[in-house]
């Protein structure tokens, strides 16, 4: 499985993501456009609803993707929060 042993860098930057066929297709991070070539993994984690008073605090959907920009190809972990509707770039192996 791709890149678990390689050191990754943590970011947590808000990004903009375009969706095609229910999956991310490209995103913009630090003013650079990345085209997603392959989804390596996708998983979903429910929020810790018992810590909030919301009846449904939603879930977080993680995508680990191989994406390329003009500078080269790398692996990136994106996170979508269903409650806020926002995307973050969490980690990068590049």
């Amino acid at each position: 499985m791709g890149g678990r042993s390689v050191l990754s860098r943590l970011y947590g930057d808000p990004i903009e993501v375009w969706i095609r066929d229910d999956r991310p297709a490209q995103f913009v991070w630090r003013d650079r456009l990345y085209a997603i070539r392959q989804v390596q993994d996708h998983w979903v984690v429910a929020r810790e609803w018992w810590k909030t008073s919301d009846t449904d605090p939603g879930e977080r959907r993680f995508w680990r993707v191989e994406a390329g920009a003009t500078t080269g190809v790398g692996t990136y972990e994106l996170r979508f929060d269903t409650a806020s509707g926002g995307w973050l770039l969490l980690r990068a192996w590049d």
Binding site: M1, D22, D41, H42, W43, V44, V45, A46, E48, W49, W50, S53, D56, E59, R61, F62
Partner: protein
Amino acid sequence: MGSFVHLHVASAYSLRYGTAFPPALVARAAAHGMDALALTDRDGLYGVIKHIRACHAEGLAPIAGVDLVLGPRERSRGKGSHGGGSQGDGSPGKDEWRIVVLARADGWGHLCRLVTAAHHVGERGEPYVTREMVAEHARGPSGDARLTVLLGPRSDVGHAAAGQRDDEARTLLAAWRAAVPDVVVEVTDHYGYRDANTAARMIGLADSAGVPAVLTNAVRHLDTTDHQVGNVLDAARRLAPLHVRHLEPSTQAYLKSGEEMGPVAARVCGGDRNRMVRLLAETRHVAERCALDPVEIVPLLSDPPGALHLPEIGGDPVPMLRNRCDDGLRRRGMERSKEARDRLAAELDIIERKRLSGYFVAVAGITDMIRDMGVRCAIRGSGAGSLVTYLTGIGEVNPLEHGLLMERFLSEGRHGLPDIDVDVESARRLDCYRAILGRYGEARVACVSMMETYRARSAIREVGAAMGLPPHEVDAVAKAFPHIRAKQIRAALTDLPELRDSGLNDRSLETVFRLAEKLDGLPRHIALHPCGVLVGNATLRDRTPVERSLLDFPMSQFDKDDVEEAGLLKLDVLGVRMQSAMAHALGEIERVDDLRIELDGVPRDDTDTYDMICSGRTIGCFQIESPGQRELVAKLEPRTMHDLIVDISLFRPGPVNSDMVTPYLEARHGFRRPSYAHEELREPLRETHGVVVFHEQVLKVIDVMTGCGLSEAEKARRALDTPQGREAVRDWFVPLAGERGFDPATVEKAWKILDAFGAFGFCKAHAAAFALPTYQSAWLKRHHAAAFFAGVLTHEPGMYPSRVILDEARRCGVDILALDVNHSGRDWRIEKTGEPLALRVRPGDLEPGGGPATEPDGERDPEIGRGYGLRVPFSAVRGVSEAEVARMVAGQPYTSMADFWERARPSRPVAERIVEVGGLDAMYGLRPGGPRWRPGSLTRRDLIAQVGALDRSSSAGVAARRDATAVQLPMGFTEQVIPGELPEMTEAEVVEAELAVLGMDVSRHVIGFHEELLDAIGVVRSRDLLRQRNGAEILVAGVKVATQTPAVRSGQRVIFLTLDDSTGPIDLTFFESVQAHTAATVFGSWLLVARGVVRRTGARAVSLRALHCWNLVDLDELWRAPEPHGGIAAVRARLDERPGSGGGVGGRRIEYDNGYRLSPYSDIGPTPGVRDAAAFLAHPTEPQRRLWHASSGSSGPTRTRRR
């Protein structure tokens, strides 16, 4: 290719795991257009019958399976042997090693036996299977596959694959294939971290081994939002706090549609379209070969039912039953009665057509056996309506005498199987079970189970623990709630006055309550049903999985409904405490008076007994002792068995709420002429003066009006339960009655009767079966009062705590004899205390011809128990063990304290308690009360000091020798206690000790200590209530005896409170308008003063409408406090306070279609006398420590405040 089929589905019957009930899952599958659905609950087949019935109704093919834990060897094999493995999350717990086993089309019996074997091999509640066990059950006689094994991500194979140990996974898979003919690999993807990767690996493994792979969704929920409940259950199951580390992500584990499963298939196949198609096709194949025939497993789905599974009785059952009935005709002296012969022929005809002769023969054999064991046994329920049960000796109620109909029990049109219920002595119930098991063998007999579900208290406990609250706090919060549904928790906090002011309503508990509500109604525990016993044949274990109950009885995983649907016959053997109480009484009469009484043969028309009942002196009697019943019997004035049958039938929520009682009483006492809708209805309704009371009358009315016959009428009656059913019956009834020539007005009137009372009537056979022990208990009380109370105190059959029974005994003239180490027994015993009065022998002499000092009018207590005493037993002492009691009894008589200590070997606290309540008074001539200091004479406190000395000396080295020979060595020293060194106990201290140690005031009534205050404020005593005029406002006081919140007509929550002031009971009614300022006091105090308005409800019946109440202890404190803050004036001022109009009880009334309304907080539990057997089983010998009865109601505001 057909639709997707879910092969791995957990319902709520996967305890602390699943959240949806089988019918809901099936309905959802049907809505998704699926044509089959599996149910594979964890550890058992608890929900399968319901699943199959739901599938049959929705037109789906049912598939049944089970999700079982793997054995210790399978679990260790996969773990860590290859190093590396699953990093991060540690090694998976036992719960994480599981396989799913499905029954193939002809494999139901094999599945049942595998589940039984899994429970047999594991600890109770922790079943598991090994590969060898599965292999043993997986094949039919000719080696054909009967079970399909799904090796999923939780299997040993799956764990190896997830750990990337592919060689090991391959080896394990090969081992499974070698052992079991039908093995498939199961892949699942819940979108968890690496789920899809593991699934892809397993597909690769399956392909390389040439094993089919199937896709499941390992379903736990109906909808994705249910995962929150799932999280709470995860925490509860793992006994861990709610934290991601302990939870199983399950947002995706819901019953997805075929369309939603498409993307899942795509993910696990890595987008390989062909592989996807093959995966789904293989899934479909498994579904097709595992589709079961619903009727084969659930015979009652077809009409007439499929094969029933009757016991083998060694011969052709038809002539056997006929012979027994003919013998019965002769034995009961009915052989010349044409009525009896015709009725018998009709009953046998139906029984034989339904092929049920064997059942009756078997049941008669069992009741014979029970009686031969010397156990009292009585029939209950609709079975009493059958002449066959009377003739075969199963029951003692003659249906012809009371006009009982068999159709209510067994009829041509009745769906389902007849169900014979017998009551036995509660203390011998398990002996009866063992005898039945002994006769038929474990392979043929199993007890029925029942699922206990989450209610308010249990749900709060579960969630409180999951949220990590301290246990004692959780306990206090849970106990503050009455026995209500979990769903009602938050509503109750605002609706009920006693909770509103309790401090529970703050934010910190909000989450606990919100989560607890989510657990509402989910099964949480499987328990032995209180009475059901399955009596089957050698194939029983092919029909039902069997596990062990807590007491090690074989127990079916099916509940009573499922058992019937599965075509298994059961006999209900219910333990009834009153039967034990009466057996005890009869034993005492024989022991002390040398009189053998054949209770079933006692004449059933004894005037003295009915006189006592009519005067409402029924505390202790079966069925008629509650405050409401005491009021009803006093108004109804029963004089015959029939009257008792009517009385019992009327005292139900239905009749009370639809006000059938008043018209009946008016007509009975001649205030109103009975009216009949039509002359032809006179016959069926005459016995109850035109009011429909019994189901049997409903049948007769329907039959008279339509001519449909009683069997058909019974079908219609059953339909009256629901609004839709009533609609349907009306559409059928009205035209048919018209055709029979009844005019429309009559038809309408008759219909109105059916509409109003049809669903409420009571089965007369049932009431008749109850009336017999009711009468018998009253007869015993009237003629052998002391012995009767000994039975009641020993077995506690009723609603009242011991101290109330003791008080009643005292009022009946029975002497209460203190605990005495030389005279007490294990249980309550009677002793002669005076010369037995002549009137004992011939009780008929008592009333009219001037028996001494007895007046039957209830104004003065007829001392029906005079000449006898009740001796407090050792078992009443708090904390005493069975073994201690046995030693104390065996060692009698004792000569000294030291002798008692040495030979009975009580624990120190028990010995101290025995001294405290006077157990050695007689031996040493102690007389507490009077002067406290008595130099030179021994006191109870001196003896308590001696217990300490004895204890110290025995622990100082002599302990080892205590068990050997009774060496007196150190005793000479310790017996040197200086008499009078310590003060004697006062009378108040004595009563206090009695309440603490025995749970009852033996020497004198506890209210006695407050006489002075009560006189000062002018409290009216119970014995003077009858002299109060209607409408008078008075003060009363007493010890709380009972609180009840039953269903009443207005839909209010009404609290009924019974106080006892040593002269008799006082009944008070608290309506909602006063509950705001009284509820907390009513539920939270023991000694009360109340102000109320007198309401005369009959010649001898008085009750009070309560206005206000106070805790007597608080008033007493105030009275004793110095002026001006205390003293009598302050007490009077407190009593004169007029409360403001606070809020009453909230909550939406539950409204029934016929207009009767019910408070959501009414208590509609079982009738008193039918005690919760589960609770009894939990503590079979633990003496009761409650001081009052609280059938419902919260225990009041808790003292634990959260700040």
